[in-house]
């Protein structure tokens, strides 16, 4: 069983009459891999086999190769299967609607079955996910994870149909989404990945799918916990302004709250390997008198009914403005990272709409925030879209000719954050 530790960063001093309490909570899991209590897993790889996957022809070949490598990473005993998706979904392996237990024999059979994949038909991602849900339902109690690869946007079903499917499947399995090429829609895959607690990324070149799939499957196999929730208690009269994951990526969890009782809600965080994530919670509480201390939030990591770690968010009211006006470094940093992601998404949206003034302003601010926080990865992606004149002031010029892949990479990876660097503000 893996163990969790938490650290809480905040300025607990609140000015008199003030009500907003902010804290960053770092949760670390040691992963404790290889232990016998490791939960039984189930894995499904969903490959887009629509007609476009055959153009160019190496796209489907690369997906087949990557799936084959992913299958090799599945350890013995894990229930697994492969789904091919077009305007309908069908099982590639096993050939009937269930999952099989991984062994050297079933892995070889699955890889052989991949050869039969042919590109033809449309794209109805909702139906693929529905089939995955049906297959996962045959192995209750397992921790379920899927990898979805597509190269196009959802065409043969409506947004509403996809929404219905997502509402139905939320919490049933985790799904990492990958878009290959540049003909898919970032917002669509982000919505799916976000609802199903997975990641989303762009794979520009078909040749890179294999490496990515291997990494995804190895990460999935390294998960040492079942479903873990972030449980947040806040006192009577308090109001949760937001709960968001802020590292390694930004993910707003506020609307995911599952009430436990009047004062407590659970926010799903899916499975954990050896990793560390940061959360930003913002709670409004009823102001109290100078010198009074109260608990504004109790954050627990809960697996099943068991509390695995806890962090306390406190509030102490003071008339001393030296104390109350200091902004905690971690809170400031992640507030900036959230703004950075928003600026990029809003800037790109404005650019698409032809509102170049807003695009320049937003992307300029993004450059400034990326420079301040030392988010070099995002800065590099920004430079694919804008010409940076002065990062300190955010003075930029929009590039005239931007490669679609650069724009989509920036959009997809806009939510990737960096941790507080030494000496960073």
């Amino acid at each position: 069983m893996s163990s969790f530790t938490t650290e809480c960063y905040q300025n607990e001093y609140i000015q008199l009459g003030g009500s907003e309490v902010n804290a960053i909570v770092t949760v670390t899991s040691d992963g404790a891999a290889g232990q016998t209590t490791q939960p039984e897993a189930a894995e499904i790889v969903i490959i887009d086999t629509s007609g476009s996957m055959g153009a160019p022809s190496q796209k489907l070949a690369a997906a087949r190769e990557a799936t084959s490598i992913a299958i090799d990473c599945i350890r013995d005993g894990v229930a697994f299967g492969v789904i091919a998706g077009t305007e309908v979904a069908r099982t590639v392996y096993p050939p009937y609607e269930t999952l099989v237990t991984a062994s050297s024999q079933t892995r070889s059979e699955a890889k052989r079955a991949l050869r039969r994949l042919e590109p033809a038909g449309g794209t109805a991602i909702g139906s693929w996910l529905t089939l995955a849900g049906t297959l996962f339902a045959t192995v209750p109690g397992r921790s379920c994870h899927a990898i979805l690869l597509t190269d196009g946007e959802n065409q043969t079903e409506t947004d509403e149909q996809l929404d219905e499917v997502l509402t139905e499947l939320e919490g049933r399995f985790q799904c990492d989404c990958r878009g290959v090429g540049t003909d898919w829609r970032v917002s669509e895959l982000r919505r799916i990945a976000s609802t199903l607690l997975g990641s989303v990324d762009i794979i520009a070149k078909p040749g890179d799918i294999a490496g990515d799939f291997r990494a995804l499957m190895e990460t999935a196999m390294g998960k040492a916990t079942g479903n873990v929730s972030l449980r947040l208690w806040a006192p009577q009269g308090a109001n949760i302004a937001f709960v968001r994951q802020v590292a390694p990526t930004i993910e707003d969890l506020t609307d995911r709250a599952v009430p436990v009782n009047d004062l407590t809600s659970d926010y799903p965080t899916a499975t954990w390997g050896r990793e560390s994530r940061d959360y930003h919670v913002c709670i409004n509480v009823q102001p109290r008198d100078a010198g009074e201390e109260m608990l504004a939030g109790r954050i627990s990591l809960v697996e099943g009914d068991e509390t695995r770690a806890q962090a306390l968010v406190k509030a102490i009211w003071t008339a001393d403005e030296h104390l109350s006006t200091q902004i905690n470094r971690e809170v400031a940093h992640y507030t900036g990272q959230a703004e950075l992601a928003d600026c990029i998404q809003e800037g790109l949206e404005a650019r698409k709409d032809g509102d170049l003034a807003t695009a320049t302003f937003k992307l300029g601010r993004a450059v400034q925030l990326a420079a301040e926080s030392g988010n070099d990865g995002t800065m590099k992606l920004l430079q694919g879209v804008v010409e940076v004149d002065d990062p300190a002031t955010g003075t930029i010029r929009l590039r005239r000719d931007v490669a679609t892949v650069d724009e989509m990479s920036l959009d997809t990876r806009s939510t990737i954050t960096v941790r507080v660097g030494p000496g960073a503000t």
Binding site: G17, P235, Q286, R288, D289, G291, E292, M294, L295, R298
Partner: protein, 211 residues
């Protein structure tokens, strides 16, 4: 084990109240029983803490100043000798045993509190522990608050003849005087004599006397 928080909530959590988040001060652990823990003086170690009002003039007092900002009274010196009336609040074991309210335990270490009575209204109650202009003059909130006291429980009013009358303000659990087990009628003035005892809540007795 559950504890009672400063605002009177039953809490399963023993560090902070699991209802209102108030800090619960660690005291003697009690095996399986409800415990009322700690006293105000132990909580407040920071300079900006709220303290008892000045015993001489009743002015609010904060910080570590030695002298009252209102009347200059020396907090380290002997208690003030001021003509007038005062209310002395104590935890009354006999009253507690008489009422035997289920789920409430008797605070073993309740400090006697004295309130100088003003000329006008002296309301008895429990504030919500927030900055509150409307807090009662005799505010019995605090770490050891008696859970049976209403927010606005009763009022002591000085009449023109210099004596005080007691009125219950429609409290939940009623107000009793001296040894009479029958609560006084709500919203009805009851004259008090020097040394009369006013019983509110599960164990609080307020002795009203001339000083």
């Amino acid at each position: 084990m559950s504890v009672v928080c400063p605002l009177g909530h039953q809490s399963q959590a023993t560090d902070y109240c699991d209802q209102c988040g108030a800090l619960i001060v660690a005291g003697s652990p009690g095996g399986g029983t409800t415990q009322v823990l700690g006293v105000l003086e132990e909580v407040d170690t920071s300079p900006a803490v709220r303290r008892e009002p000045c015993p001489a003039c009743g002015a609010p007092r904060s910080g570590d100043d030695r002298y009252c900002e209102g009347c200059g009274h020396d907090f380290l010196g002997p208690p003030p000798v001021v003509a007038g009336w005062e209310a002395i609040v104590t935890a009354d074991r006999a009253q507690f045993d008489r009422l035997a309210v289920a789920g409430v335990s008797f605070p073993s270490d309740y400090p006697e509190r004295r309130f100088a009575l003003a000329d006008g209204e002296n309301r008895i109650g429990r504030s919500r522990g927030q900055p509150d202009e409307n807090a009662p003059e005799i505010d019995l909130a605090g770490p050891l608050a008696d859970p049976g006291i209403s927010r606005l429980h009763a009022v002591l009013e000085r009449r023109s003849d210099g004596l005080y009358v007691l009125r219950d303000l429609g409290s939940t659990n009623g107000t009793m005087v001296n040894d009479d087990p029958v609560p006084i009628a709500p919203h009805t003035a009851v004259p008090l004599a020097n040394g009369d005892r006013v019983h509110v809540g599960a164990w609080t007795t307020i002795t009203v006397r001339k000083r």
